[in-house]
């Protein structure tokens, strides 16, 4: 499968905007959007094409719809702010993917710091336990118990179907580290599934 995975851009049914280079997304004449800023127009077009896939990606990593939506909104806002500084040949989808992965890491870090009540146990475990709604998704539940880095590697490799090189770029690590992290994550996942049975 190619780098820009199909299911990351499949929800509008409309022709997808090109995802390489800000110049590819300048507003078209005759769209009635002359007042629309070029960056806003382009980012909005990208959002239409990729919000679903990226929200799903964040949701898989975080297990929380609201946080996933926030992360994706913030990623697009970040792209909008940086638009004029991006080189023409930037892989915009790759840029967004990195933003989403980083945003997910921030959410996970914040969760550890969020003040919890005296009597209430930390929530992620409760949430993870309750999310195991279906036996057939036991692997997803097990995945959410993996360390964040291993979880990211598996999601990018097996949900987003990214090749190792793009996974490495999205995670900000080397290709070799992707291979070893993925292997360790799969081994841990297999162990957890066997123990759960």
């Amino acid at each position: 499968m190619e780098g820009d995975v199909a299911h990351l851009s499949d929800f509008t049914g409309a022709p997808q905007a090109r995802t390489t280079g800000p110049a590819a997304l300048r507003p078209q004449e005759g769209t009635g959007c002359a007042e629309l800023g070029a960056a806003a127009h382009a980012v909005t077009a990208l959002y239409r094409g990729h919000a679903l896939g990226l929200t799903r990606l964040a949701f898989i990593v975080l297990g929380d719809r609201q946080s996933a939506e926030d992360v994706v909104q913030e990623a697009f806002c970040g792209l909008f702010r940086a638009w004029d500084r991006l080189p023409e040949d930037t892989n915009v989808l790759g840029y967004l993917r990195v933003s989403v992965v980083n945003g997910c890491r921030t959410v996970i870090r914040r969760r550890k710091r969020t003040p919890q009540s005296m009597a209430i146990p930390p929530a992620p475990s409760a949430e993870a336990a309750m999310l195991v709604g279906e036996e057939r998704r036991a692997a997803v539940a097990a995945l959410r118990r993996l360390p964040p880095r291993q979880r990211e590697a598996l999601v990018l490799r097996y949900f987003a179907d990214l090749p190792e090189q793009e996974t490495a770029e999205a995670m900000g690590i080397s290709r070799g580290t992707v291979k070893s992290t993925t292997a360790r994550a799969l081994a841990a996942l297999g162990r957890m599934l066997r123990e759960d049975q």
């Binding site: 299911h7 929800f11 509008t12 959007c33 007042e35 629309l36 800023g37 070029a38 960056a39 806003a40 909005t44 959002y47 239409r48 919000a51 679903l52 929200t55 799903r56 990606l57 949701f59 898989i60 929380d64 719809r65 609201q66 996933a68 939506e69 926030d70 909104q73 806002c77 909008f80 702010r81 638009w83 004029d84 969020t114 003040p115 009540s117 005296m118 009597a119 209430i120 146990p121 929530a123 409760a126 949430e127 309750m130 999310l131 709604g133 279906e134 036996e135 057939r136 998704r137 692997a139 997803v140 995945l143 598996l154 999601v155 097996y158 949900f159 799969l186 996942l189 297999g190 599934l193």
Partner: protein, 458 residues
């Protein structure tokens, strides 16, 4: 590819489909809180020269500090200096809380799998002046849904009602859940200190209620008494006012009635803490086709005004007002009593359905709390019937979040251009929020929470 890889791939794909295309919220870009994709917006795309960036950063920092003070002063009572004791409805409460949609539960009924999202999965408390997140609170396990929240007038005391709504069947596969209506609810109290510190404790109320009794709660303006209404639907209806300090209870009951008593958790008490407004809610308790066919929404809304200092222990002891909607419109819903006790405000409207295309229209209807007569109609809106995207809340919603003493100034969720928007209604003028509310991350989240029917206390 190994079996495990294959399984992981297919499960991830299935899990991701819980996020549906229709549920994607509109993009909101920086500097334009009302921007919706496709709607023209103004935004310069000028790039700053490198030398200007440090200056701009310093200016931005100064602006944020100045802006914070400006916002604080625009919100009376949230600025520096001591807050006057007791509820003052000239001021906006210091903090607000709202529940946020969390998990999606999959459950099976008669062999068909369904999914349901829990809108009250957890709760956030924020400072009104700054938007700062003060606490994220989750129900104590195994409870998994905050179905009720309420606050005092100052925004320093919150009471939360937690339900154990989603529960696995004991002797069935792990994938099967049911909506638990019988496990008694638990109540929590949050107290917010002047510096934003949150103290949480469990409340042991002498009144026991379960979700099946359709309970509702409202905290008195000074935060010391909690009103709990429940029952009806063929059983006796009851309202209990519990003193949180002493545990003393005063009850008002009715014989068996078809309706359920309902308290508007944001606007049930008058500012003096004496009068309680209670709405009769003709809830449909059966989902059978026959019951649905026979159900007709009521033409009017009945509201009981209970004087909690007067003698009497039945709901009949209170004053009963019948609120009639404007011609052709639905009976007023979410009835709110203004803190001065002079007016009742409810949302009314009508749908004009054509076979393919239709519109909703509506407004806030203001009634006299003495006679029940319709006094005026405020904040009219119109909604394209086809625009039911979940990101828009699906349906038009008009909800009062806060009212000044006389109701001359309201913070409300209000439909604008097919989008439910939080803003301020002063007289007849609605202004989308932004100037009156901090535009921190929490603002958009609050608005989204309100659109998607989450609970809110202010």
């Amino acid at each position: 590819m190994t079996v495990l890889e294959d399984r992981l791939r297919s499960e991830l794909r299935a899990e991701s489909e819980l996020i549906t295309p229709e549920s994607i919220v509109p993009l909101r870009l920086p500097g334009d809180t009302e921007h919706v994709p496709g709607v023209p917006r103004r935004r310069g795309s000028r790039q700053w020269p490198p030398w200007a960036i440090p200056l701009a950063a310093a200016a931005a920092a100064a602006a944020v500090i100045a802006g914070t003070f400006a916002v604080a002063h625009m919100l009376p009572g949230t600025g520096p200096g001591p807050r006057p004791a007791g509820p003052k409805y000239a001021t906006i409460p210091a903090n607000y809380a709202y529940t946020v949609q969390g998990d999606i539960y999959n459950y099976t009924s008669h062999g068909t799998q369904y999914g349901a999202s829990v809108t009250g999965r957890y709760l956030k408390v924020r400072s009104t002046a700054t938007g700062k997140l003060l606490a994220t609170v989750r129900p104590p396990r195994p409870y998994n849904n905050f179905s009720m929240i309420t606050a005092d007038a100052g925004g320093t005391v919150f009471v939360l009602g937690a339900a154990h709504n989603w529960q696995r069947y004991a002797n069935a596969g792990p994938q099967v859940y049911f909506l638990n209506q019988t496990t008694l609810m638990r109540f929590l109290e949050l107290r917010i200190g002047p510096a934003g510190q949150v103290q949480q404790s469990s409340l042991s109320l002498p009144v026991k209620v379960s979700p099946g009794q359709q309970p509702s709660i409202a905290l008195s303006p000074e935060g010391s008494r909690l009103a709990v209404a429940f029952g009806g639907g063929g059983a006796p209806a009851e309202v209990a006012v519990v003193s949180l300090g002493s545990g003393r209870v005063r009850r008002w009951v009715s014989p068996r009635v078809s309706w359920t008593p309902q308290l508007n958790y944001r606007g049930a008490w008058t500012a003096d803490g004496r009068t309680l407004a209670l709405q009769e809610w003709p809830v449909l308790r059966s989902s059978s086709r026959r019951a649905l066919n026979q159900y007709h929404p009521p033409a009017t809304t009945s509201v009981h005004l209970i004087d909690t200092l007067a003698p009497g222990g039945t709901l009949a002891a209170g004053q009963l007002l019948v609120l009639r909607p404007p011609a052709g419109e639905s009976a007023p819903g979410d009835v709110f009593i203004t803190p001065d006790g002079t007016k009742l405000i409810g949302s009314t409207g009508k749908s004009d359905f054509a076979p393919v295309r239709g519109t909703w229209t509506g407004e806030l209807s203001v009634y006299s709390a003495r006679t029940g007569a319709l006094l005026q109609r405020l904040a009219p809106w119109k909604w394209n019937g086809l625009d039911l995207r979940p990101a828009h809340g699906g349906f038009p919603r008009e909800l009062i979040a806060w009212s000044s003493l006389s109701g001359s100034r309201l913070i409300l969720l209000h439909p604008v251009a097919d989008l439910n928007v939080l803003g301020v209604l002063t007289g007849r003028r609605f202004s989308p929020a932004g100037a009156l509310l901090p535009q921190a991350a929490g603002y958009q989240e609050l608005e989204y929470a309100l659109r998607t029917a989450s609970q809110m206390a202010w």
